[in-house]
Structures are given as structure tokens and as C-alpha cells.
Symmetry: D2
């Protein structure tokens, strides 16, 4: 089963700057061979369910190793069985409607 997720990992107890943890997660996601796209409040990832969630787990494990005692994460995730749809398809679908207004 394919899944598209929006991942926002927030380490606690390590101050207010979280970008170095985002970078580390970015590397883990890339190493897993997953397609991803960074935005200002998270990272979109698409791929096979198990690989995606194993990767999220690796991000948590790595951020704890980096010294964060606590992590709180928000994930939105979508699956569909009526048809295949990529992250690009989702954006394209909106942009086409916007340009034809």
C-alpha cells in the first residue's frame, strides 16, 4: 500500500532551533530512497507504507541519539485505492484548476 505523508518532527529539550534535526531526517529519507519535498512546516514523503514508517522511526531514533530526550511529531497521511496519485499529481490537480479560473 502506497502512502503520502506530511511529517513534522519536533525535538524537545534542545532549544528553539530545529533545523539541524530536519537536515538529519532529510538525509535519512534520502538514504531510504524515498521521494520527498520540504516545505515551511514539514516534509512531504511518498512511498510504500512500511518503508515510509520505518524511515519515520529511524528519524526518531537518530534525533534521540543526537541528544533530544523527547520528541513530538505530527503526521498527516493519506492512502487511496480508487486510483494512483503522487504528490506531484495532487499539486498539479490544484494548479490546473487555479490557472483555468
Amino acid at each position: 500500500m502506497n502512502v503520502i505523508i506530511d511529517l513534522c518532527i519536533v525535538p524537545l529539550g534542545v532549544g528553539v532551533s530545529v533545523s539541524k534535526y530536519v537536515v538529519e531526517c532529510h538525509n535519512i529519507i534520502n538514504a531510504a530512497g524515498l521521494k520527498s519535498s520540504l516545505h515551511a512546516y514539514g516534509t512531504n514523503i511518498e512511498g510504500e507504507w512500511n518503508l515510509v514508517f520505518d524511515t519515520v522511526k529511524k528519524c526518531h531514533e537518530r534525533i534521540h541519539e543526537m541528544g533530544a530526550p523527547r520528541i513530538t511529531t505530527t503526521i498527516k497521511l493519506g492512502t487511496r485505492i480508487d486510483r494512483e496519485q503522487t504528490m506531484d499529481d495532487k499539486i498539479k490537480s490544484v494548479k490546473e484548476k487555479l490557472s483555468s479560473q
Copy 2:
């Protein structure tokens, strides 16, 4: 690694009533032996990471089998390595501070 999650699964394309899907997920969570607690906007679950996320996957698979072509889910999830903390501990910590005001 233990995790506490807040799970909110929303089937799309099946009308506005979602309680029968929540019930089905409740049964799947119970069958997995996971501790859970229902609230008005989701279900809290605690347990070992892999078991928890395998269970979330089973919920998605089951809801698709029930006829929902598309599902969008929001999950909050927390891990910590400084100490063990259950869902009950989290609530107790707030309630103690509330009662001692």
C-alpha cells in the same frame, strides 16, 4: 521504543458519518492488545512502536475493505528516552497541578 500516539482516521467518499469506522479501528486496536483511550477527536494509543504502526496500517486496510476509496489520517506521536511515561502519567501530571492550584 515505546510510543504514545493520538490517531484520527477520516475515510473520504463514504458520507459524513464516521463512527462505524472508528468502532472497527477500536476492535483492531483491542485485538492487537494495545492500550487505548477514545476521546471526541481521536483515539490515544500506547505501545511498542512497530506494533502501534502495524495496527494503524491494519486500520487503513480494513477501512478500505469496508468501502472507503480514500482515507486521510492525522497522527500526533511522542517518544522520550529520559524516562518512561504512560498516557495515564501524562494526564495525572496535569491533574495534580490543577488540583494543587
Copy 3:
């Protein structure tokens, strides 16, 4: 317009313990006269849209005053116009189906 929300406010830069901030928000929500219910990963609140979001804003302002330089919050929110539904109605709807299985 009435709204039911699930509110999870996370102060950053103030260590790993967040319960004292949750307590403060609880007091602000109560002072606003809003109905709320605490769970292990947030607080459910129901009420008129403007009052609810003014209250969320007051929580952010207060937590900054308490010393948190940065806050990240996750909110789920639901509105419906087909019928009135309270937080209690939502839980009751699931519990009735659970007990009649």
C-alpha cells in the same frame, strides 16, 4: 458557527516538561466559559468559533509571557452544518455502536 477542536500546544526552548503550560491553558479555557476535556495528547474544546480561537490565541500569548520563546501547536477542528453535534455526542455515537456489537 460552532466548532469542536483538539488542541495540543507545545512550548519550545523550555525543557521537556510541558504540564505547567497545559495547566495554564486549562485555566484560560475555563475562564472563557468553554467546555473542554483533557486527554493524554491534547485538550478537546467546543464552542463558538471566534471565542474558541480567541482563547487559543490567549494561550499562545500567555505561554510566551511565561518564558517560552517559541511555540508549535497542532489543532484538529471540525464544523458541520447538517446537524448539531457536541463532543459528548461524538463519543456516545461510537460507544453505542461498541456496546451493541
Copy 4:
């Protein structure tokens, strides 16, 4: 108080395709003069707190007018008082660290 949010509005009871509702929200956000950026699982918006949440409310009202009986929305929102930070700043901070690896 400035806020950066990630907005994901999901109308229920209107089938599986939600792009026309996303387009309508996009127009409302633009008409409010707010800076926004679309991604595959939501829209990032930055601006003054009251204007941002008035706009979210207008999106809900409009989607109900378009025929959706029920809406469930997920919002992540961040405020900080230690320094000003835009959506672009957040992405730039990560991209600089990525490119210097």
C-alpha cells in the same frame, strides 16, 4: 502577533476529490492579502494572527456554502517572540545546512 500555519482542510460528504475546495481556499487566502505556499498535503500561510484565523474561518464558511455538510481540518501553527522568522527563512535555514554538508 505573527503566525505561520500549515492548513489542511478536508470536506466530508462530497466525494473523494477535494481540489476544487483547495482552489476556493486559495482564492480566499489571496483576497486576504496573505502570503501562502501550496504543498502536496496542505497550504502554508503567514501573517498576523487575527487575519490568518479570520481567513481560515472564511474558508470553512465558503466550503459549507459550496455544499459540504461537514469539514475536518488539521492546522499546525507556530509563533515565536525571540526573533522574526518567515516561511522563506525556515526553508532557507534547512537548505543552507543541507548544501554545506
